[in-house]
Symmetry: C2
């Protein structure tokens, strides 16, 4: 088998076999496939696509390039959730304790934010002392003790994905649904899970704003998961406006704690409970989605979800007092800058991507992977789409430390919030569809 | 400027500017464009193509990556010919002395054979002592003294093309008319020529068998040449059957000498004279193609073309006696293996690519760039397409040294010569069209 012949096959629209894909992925580590051959192949895949079997084979080979964690020694169904990312999307921090409190084992490996999108690890690190860099032994141990664990990708997990991810980033071959799907799923399936609930976003702030593309991504990821013997379901959700009322790392921890106390904003609470219910159903703990939903709600009402969050924070070195007095424990920004309505009417849109860009300028996110993050900064919304607003009323507040790029951030954020003179605008639904 | 943004632009069907292309080609030497970025870009170019201006800019940047030879110190118009290659295609060896004898300066940089296609350098090296590896000073000197020079590519010429050629070979990105054209033209234009006559082959033995593709290649190369201020014209010629009656390195030198003596086969003589006439016309030596044609014929009749060949052979260290007694000077194969007609009728086809493969198996050509060449072996045709043939009559003779792969070669060659019971088949025309 020669890499050049396989590149030619894909270039000409052919279908690679499982053995051919295993040869190509294996060649990354062995060196018998050069990086410049892989990048040409990646461009051919962007051009020609991959069918279901090819995509599953690619994911499987990437997963097997590293350690596939064996969690069979820990009793219970292991179910994780993956979101394609957005602005203010902190559901992991809420649903993982809920699902764990309901009896699901939640081994969660998360990523960092990039561009306008936040990342779960960055949010967790705004809790003083919280360590996301556990090794696989600690990972198993925290999971067994708390029913959930929240870590970053370890070097043992899917090294071929790390190589291909860097290669795609440097060669403009990121935008391919089979490649995106195989990359996500190879890492998730290497965690040792039995099932995965996917939160696939569409709308202004989503990685794939177009709903049809988002549906294709969901179907592709579900196809991979099922091909490899895992349970999979996806919710298609709305990322037109930021999720919840806060975006920014410490602010999102605060809002997550509030939501675990039953005081969260409606959209965030609804989505977190629905995703947790899917996990509970998938784990076989409840027989119907309705029963699973009620079970999830009960873990908030009886405090057991918040208690799980407290436990995992303590187990991973963080200050559990964040669950009791978050405003004291979490870092606070020095300056509050309100955004007021210039005219009255109703909030017609809060363009999520632009909000993400604005708070990235304040230091809440990364422009590049090596950018520094300021955990305290972000934005807090007083109004969301559909809310009435009077001229001069505060719509949002920026939390600011470094004022260097404040003017630019403020301009972006102000323009992102659109007001219509209409007295009534329907609020945006969050859950658009269930796929799977 | 970042390579990844330019790759994305081409991936999405955009048009690269001259500055962007210069940045990308310059990045090969400077290292600011990685090889894996170039290979992804090459695949995007195979996918999306390049327009006329992009192709010319690529060629220009590749040409300028090395030394562009300055021949302005040598008086006279410098005109070269390039052929896209075929089987039995030895016109360079004939037309270069003809054109030189007519007063054209012919600075010819040629290549080696690969696969079923022969190469001028390999043919020349079957002349004992002939040295194709001159440096640029010797190159200028032989040209000034003889009016022609016949060398291989030097390291100073278009190093970016060497890099890209190797990259394309390893990444299945060879088959792109803009990339092929820019590669050919970058080397040719770096020779220091004023004009170029192209012999673009189509048919069974050609690099691009399809006539429409061959026309596209011709038009693209002419477009590049003219964009960069050079005179260019192309003949579209037939490579269905081998050109002339001999294929194999020493055999083709023999046939070239015979043709320079006015005793060559019709198709070879006609094409060599026509290409030489185009060079004479382009150099402004004669006012019309008809006058140029007559001038070319006269250089054969008066022996001046053969004399030029003798001179350049002597100047490059070869034995000039090859012009007087080629059978004594050239290496001979040990064994002659005839191919006889199984039935009578007419020769309907001699499939050039299969003939090229057959003699490659005997050692006349290279399977890989590092394969060893046997100069003595090859094939000699007694019959060509259109000739009547009786059952049992000899159609061709294989010249063989190593019998290891003879059976396979014989089988291929026998199958390549097709006989029809029809008493009369029209001979194949050689020159199909003039483009430019």
């Amino acid at each position: 088998m020669r890499a050049v012949d396989l590149i030619r096959k894909k270039r000409d629209g052919g279908t690679l076999t499982t053995e051919e894909i295993a040869f190509l992925v294996g060649g990354i580590e062995s060196g018998h496939v050069a990086d410049y051959q892989w990048s040409a192949l990646l461009m051919a895949i962007v051009w020609r696509g991959m069918d279901k079997a090819e995509t599953a084979a690619l994911c499987d080979a990437m997963m097997r390039s590293g350690e596939v964690v064996d969690l069979s020694g820990i009793p219970g169904a292991k179910v994780d959730k993956h979101s394609t990312g957005g602005v203010g999307d902190k559901t992991s921090l809420i649903l993982a304790p809920i699902a764990a409190a309901a009896g699901v084992m939640v081994p969660m490996v998360s990523g960092r934010g990039l561009g306008h999108t936040g990342g779960t690890l960055d949010k967790l690190e705004s809790i003083p002392g919280f360590d996301v860099n556990l090794d696989l032994t600690e990972y198993r141990d925290v999971l067994a003790r708390c029913g959930l664990v929240l870590i970053g990708q370890t070097p043992e997990i899917a090294p071929a994905d790390k190589f291909l991810y860097a290669m795609r980033d440097a060669t403009a071959t990121v935008e391919s649904i089979p490649l995106i799907s195989a990359s996500i799923m190879s890492k998730k399936l290497a965690e040792g899970i039995d099932g995965l609930v996917l939160d696939v976003k569409c709308g202004h702030g989503a990685f794939l704003p177009d709903e049809a593309k988002a549906r294709e991504l969901a179907a592709t990821m579900i196809g991979i998961g099922r091909s490899l013997g895992k349970k999979c379901v996806a919710l298609l959700t709305n990322m037109e406006q930021p999720l919840g009322r806060m975006a920014g790392n410490a602010l999102e921890i605060y809002e997550s704690v509030e939501t675990l106390k039953g005081r969260g904003p409606q959209d965030l609470a609804d989505l977190s409970i629905e995703l947790a219910a899917e996990m509970i159903l998938m784990a076989g703990i409840e027989p119907s989605i309705e029963a699973a939903r009620q079970r999830a709600v009960r873990t908030i009402e009886d405090g057991s979800a918040l208690e799980r969050f407290r436990q995992v924070i303590a187990a991973q070195g963080g200050d559990p007092a964040v669950c009791d007095d978050p405003l004291r424990v979490l870092p606070q920004a020095r300056k509050m800058v309100p955004i007021t309505a210039k005219t009255g009417g109703s909030v017609a849109a809060i363009k999520a991507r632009d909000i993400g860009q604005a708070i990235m300028l304040l230091g809440a996110g990364r422009e590049r992977m090596d950018s520094h993050i300021d955990p305290a900064v972000g934005i807090q919304f007083e109004k969301k789409v559909g809310d009435p607003v009077a001229a001069g009323e505060t719509m949002a507040v920026l939390h600011v430390n470094n004022e260097m790029r404040l003017a630019h951030a403020l301009e972006l954020a102000e323009a992102a919030i659109e007001i219509t003179p209409e007295p009534s605008v329907p609020p945006l639904g969050v859950i658009l569809d269930r796929i799977g």
